[in-house]
């Protein structure tokens, strides 16, 4: 079974902090994604990567950046966390047709 692991299930950070959300997959997938989930809005794509060191903006990239130095790891970075970034963050990887999701990180910014 594909395993996508997000390093934290819950995270509480202060406004202005730099926040790293980590995601690791164990199936050598080329494609990895970060989604944000909010009530009434569903999931929205923040950034994705289709190869090491390659990245593309999704629908809501503002306030976020990403890093993919190794194929198995895709990091989401909040350069200066704000309260409107309080949300559930879901990482996913894909070999092509099917997305495999992690269990999500619920981030609260106070």
């Amino acid at each position: 079974d594909v395993k996508v692991t997000q390093s934290s299930r819950y995270l509480v950070k202060r406004t202005g902090e730099k926040v790293f959300l980590e995601c690791v997959q164990d199936m050598d997938h080329e494609n990895m994604f970060w989604y944000r989930q909010d009530p009434g809005l569903g999931l929205r794509l923040i950034y994705f990567s289709y190869d090491v060191k390659m990245k593309e903006k999704g629908d809501i990239p503002e306030g976020y950046s990403v890093s993919r130095e190794k194929k198995e790891r895709f990091s989401l970075i909040l350069e200066s966390a704000s309260t409107n970034q309080t949300s559930m963050y879901l990482c996913a990887s894909s070999p092509g047709r099917t997305l495999h999701f992690g269990n999500g990180t619920r981030l609260t910014v106070t």
Binding site: N31, L43, F48, M88, L90, A92, R97, F101, N103, G104
Partner: protein, 119 residues
């Protein structure tokens, strides 16, 4: 831009009964895929069913089936013989077809429908 709309924020069903979740989408593309994902309280997103737009036959996976109306841009999910384990948030999602290059995984999701199953 593609959009996906789920107009039912919440639905409920009695155990062993049938329930249908609605989804409509908007696209000008002809090659695309549609999905239903389930998210139980564990938060793990699970793929329930997938439909290729070029296939006229509705997809079926055990108790789960879809009614795909391409002209109407409608993609509803029917759950038969509902079980307590079906209780979850259900998301409808859209993705461009393989001709979209790096579009793999660039899903557009609906708002979600919370399904409650009563014993």
């Amino acid at each position: 831009a593609q959009t996906v709309t789920q107009s039912q924020p919440e639905m409920s069903v009695q155990e062993a009964e049938t329930v249908t979740l609605s989804c409509t989408y908007d696209t000008s593309e002809s090659d695309y895929y549609l999905f239903w994902y389930k998210q139980p309280p564990s938060r793990q997103m699970i793929l329930v069913i997938r439909q290729e737009a070029y296939k006229q036959q509705n997809a079926t996976e055990n108790r789960f089936s879809v009614n795909f109306q391409k002209a109407a841009k409608s993609f509803s999910l029917k759950i038969s013989d509902s079980q307590l384990g079906d209780a979850a948030m259900y998301f409808c999602a859209y993705r461009l077809g393989n001709a979209g290059g790096t579009s793999y995984g660039k899903l557009t999701f609906g708002q979600g429908t919370i399904l409650t199953v009563h014993p």
